[in-house]
C-alpha cells in the first residue's frame, strides 16, 4: 500500500501534488473540474494590498512546448480576497492545504497583506512571491540579497504560520538565495517561478504580448526547474516545492528525486484539468512498481554515479 502523504510545514498533505499560483485562481473556478479535496492542496492567485488592474492583452500565447504569460498580477486585493474568495476555500476544502500567494510593491505592502490575513481561518500559510517577471518591481526582492533577507525576516516577525518563498530562476546561483531565505526564517521554498521571455509577431513586427515581455512556463522549462530545485534543495534543510513544466507522475518524480518534498502543477491544468490527478496517479503507480512505501523515501533519493 503506497502512502502519498507528506508531513511538513507543520501540517499533513495527503499527496505531494499542489496547484501552482496563478493557474488555479482562488480554487472555486475549478471546483467542477478538479476534485480539489483529493489532491495535496493549492496556492492561490497572488493577493496584493490594493486591487491591481493587470496588463493589456495579449496576456498569454503558446510557445514551443509551453506558454508565455504577462497577466500582471491582476487580483481583487486583500479586502475583497478576505470577503469574497477566502470563505469559499474555508468552506469547501477539508483535506487540501491552502497557501496564499502574497505580493507587494514594498516590504510594508507584503507585511500588510500577511497581517491582514493572519487571524483568518481557511488556509495553512503563505507563499511569498518575490519572482513575478511581469510587473515593474516584481523581482525586486527576488534578486537583491539584502532586500530579500530583510523582507523574509520582517514577515517572520509578523506570523507564526508557514512562510514559503517562491524564488526566481533569474539569478546566477539559486542556492545563495535559498540560504538567505532559510537564515531569515523561511519555512520552505518554491522553485521556480517563470523564466523571463519574449515572443515577436514577425508579420506585424510587434511583440505578441501587451506587456512586451512575459514569463515562460510549461514542459519547455522542466529541465531548468529540476536543475534549480536540485541546487536549492542541496543548499538548505527546509522543504522545497518543485515547480516547472510538470504534466505527469514521471515529471513530478524528477523534482522529488532532485529534492522537492512537494510539487506544483500549473500550466498543465490549462491543457487538461485532470493533470493533477494524473500526476498523483503516476507517482502512486511508480511507488507500487518500485516497492516504495512512502513518498518521503524518494525525496532527494537521486544517485549520482561517481566519475572515474
Amino acid at each position: 500500500m503506497t502512502d502519498l502523504s507528506q508531513h511538513l510545514l507543520g501540517a499533513s498533505f495527503q499527496s505531494p501534488v499542489l496547484l501552482a499560483s496563478g493557474t488555479c485562481g482562488y480554487g472555486e473556478e475549478y471546483a467542477n473540474l478538479i476534485p480539489l479535496d483529493e489532491i495535496g492542496g493549492l496556492v492561490t492567485k497572488a493577493v496584493s494590498l490594493e486591487p491591481r488592474p493587470g496588463n493589456p492583452p495579449h496576456r498569454v500565447a503558446e510557445t514551443p512546448g509551453g506558454m508565455i504569460n504577462a497577466i500582471g498580477l491582476q487580483n481583487v486585493g486583500l479586502d475583497r480576497f478576505r470577503s469574497e474568495k477566502l470563505p469559499w476555500l474555508r468552506n469547501n476544502l477539508r483535506a487540501a492545504r491552502v497557501l496564499i500567494n502574497v505580493v507587494g510593491h514594498s516590504a510594508e505592502d507584503y507585511g500588510a497583506v500577511v497581517s491582514g490575513l493572519d487571524s483568518d481561518d481557511g488556509f495553512l500559510g503563505y507563499e511569498i512571491n518575490v519572482s513575478c517577471p511581469n510587473v515593474k518591481d516584481g523581482t525586486l526582492f527576488g534578486v537583491d540579497q539584502q532586500a530579500l533577507s530583510a523582507l523574509v525576516a520582517g514577515l517572520r516577525a509578523l506570523t507564526e504560520r508557514p512562510l514559503v518563498v517562491k524564488l526566481t530562476p533569474n539569478v546566477p546561483d539559486i542556492g545563495v538565495y535559498a540560504r538567505i531565505c532559510e537564515e531569515a526564517g523561511a519555512d520552505g521554498l518554491s522553485t521556480i517561478n517563470t523564466f523571463p521571455g519574449m515572443l515577436i509577431d514577425v508579420e506585424g513586427r510587434r511583440p505578441v504580448l501587451g506587456n512586451v515581455s512575459g514569463g515562460v512556463s510549461g514542459p519547455a522549462i522542466l529541465p531548468m526547474g529540476v536543475y534549480l530545485t536540485w541546487r536549492a534543495a542541496a543548499a538548505v534543510s527546509i522543504p522545497v516545492m518543485g515547480i516547472g513544466g510538470i504534466r505527469s507522475g514521471s515529471d513530478a518524480l524528477q523534482y522529488i528525486l532532485a529534492g522537492a518534498s512537494l510539487v506544483q502543477v500549473g500550466t498543465a491544468l490549462f491543457v487538461d484539468p485532470s493533470a493533477p490527478v494524473q500526476v498523483q496517479a503516476g507517482i502512486a503507480e511508480y511507488m507500487e512498481r518500485h516497492g516504495i512505501a512512502r513518498v518521503a523515501d524518494l525525496v532527494g533519493a537521486l544517485t549520482i554515479p561517481e566519475r572515474e
Binding site: 493557474t23 467542477n32 496576456r59 498569454v60
Partner: protein
C-alpha cells in the same frame, strides 16, 4: 450557468469548407446536452505530447445536434489550428465546455447576425436554433475574398438559412462589408462576431439605428474557465474583464 465538463470526443466527420477552413464534427453528448448558442469550448489534444497546439484553443460551438454531435469551424492560422484542422474521423480531441455566456435573444425582435470571417461560427448554431424555434433569423456573412467563403451549401444545411454573402473583392456574393446596405426597418436584435474593426463598425451602426447589439469577442485564452485572467478585454468602465467567463458575448455597451 451550466457546469463545464472535461471530455474526450471522437471526431466523426471532417470536410473542407473553404481553402483553409474546415468543418469538424465531434461526438460529445455530455457537452452538447448543455450547449447554448454563443458558448464556446476549449479544444485540444491533451497532455500526451507538446506539439502545437500544446494549449487548447477556444472555438465557438458551431452546431449542436440531437444525437450529441458538436460542430466546429476551424480555420488555419498557425501550427496549432493546422493540426486541429487535419484531424481524421476516429481521432480523439480533449474538449472542455460548454464555456462562457451565450447570446440572449429577445422574443419580440427578429435576429440579424453579422459575421466576419471565422466569426461565422457562433451564428451557425444561432441560426439552427432560431429556425427550430421558428424565429426570423438572417445571417449576413462577409469575407475579404471569395476563396475564403465557408461553403454556402454547408451553411444552408446546418442552419436552414440562406446567407446574405458579402466579399470585399466582390468575387462571391455582394461586393462590400456586412454593415453595408442592410434592411433594418424591422428593428432587429443585432448580433456580431468578427475582427475588432468590424465589431466597432457594428457598434456604430447599432448606435445610429438605435438597435440593440450583442458582440462575441475573441482574445488569446489560457484556461477558458476564469482562473488565468489571460483573455481580458477592456470594459466601458475601463477595467480588464475576462472574455471567457464574463463573455465571450457582451452587450456592446459593456465594452470600450
Amino acid at each position: 450557468m451550466s457546469a463545464p465538463v472535461r471530455s474526450w470526443g471522437r471526431v466523426l466527420e471532417t470536410r473542407q469548407a473553404a481553402g483553409d477552413t474546415f468543418w469538424i464534427e465531434v461526438d460529445c453528448p455530455r457537452i452538447a446536452a448543455q450547449a447554448r448558442p454563443g458558448q464556446f469550448v476549449m479544444l485540444g489534444t491533451g497532455l500526451g505530447d507538446v506539439a502545437a497546439p500544446f494549449l487548447p484553443r477556444p472555438f465557438s460551438i458551431g452546431a449542436r445536434e440531437a444525437d450529441g454531435r458538436l460542430g466546429f469551424l476551424v480555420r488555419v492560422f498557425g501550427a496549432g489550428t493546422r493540426r486541429l484542422s487535419a484531424v481524421n474521423p476516429g481521432d480523439e480531441l480533449l474538449i472542455l465546455g460548454p464555456l462562457g455566456r451565450s447570446f440572449s435573444l429577445p422574443a419580440d425582435r427578429p435576429i440579424v447576425c453579422l459575421a466576419g470571417g471565422v466569426g461565422l461560427a457562433p451564428f451557425l448554431f444561432v441560426g439552427a436554433d432560431a429556425r427550430l424555434e421558428k424565429r426570423d433569423v438572417r445571417i449576413v456573412y462577409g469575407e475579404r475574398t471569395g476563396d475564403r467563403v465557408f461553403d454556402p451549401e454547408l451553411i444552408r444545411r446546418i442552419t436552414g438559412v440562406e446567407p446574405d454573402l458579402r466579399t470585399e473583392d466582390g468575387s462571391l456574393g455582394r461586393r462590400g462589408l456586412v454593415i453595408d446596405d442592410l434592411d433594418l426597418d424591422d428593428q432587429p436584435q443585432l448580433l456580431a462576431c468578427g475582427p475588432d474593426p468590424m465589431l466597432r463598425a457594428c457598434a456604430d451602426l447599432a448606435l445610429r439605428h438605435g438597435l440593440p447589439l450583442q458582440v462575441s469577442v475573441e482574445e488569446h485564452m489560457g484556461c477558458g474557465v476564469g482562473t488565468c485572467q489571460g483573455c481580458v478585454v477592456l470594459s466601458a468602465a475601463g477595467e480588464w474583464i475576462k472574455s471567457c467567463t464574463e463573455g465571450p458575448v457582451f452587450d456592446a455597451r459593456e465594452l470600450a
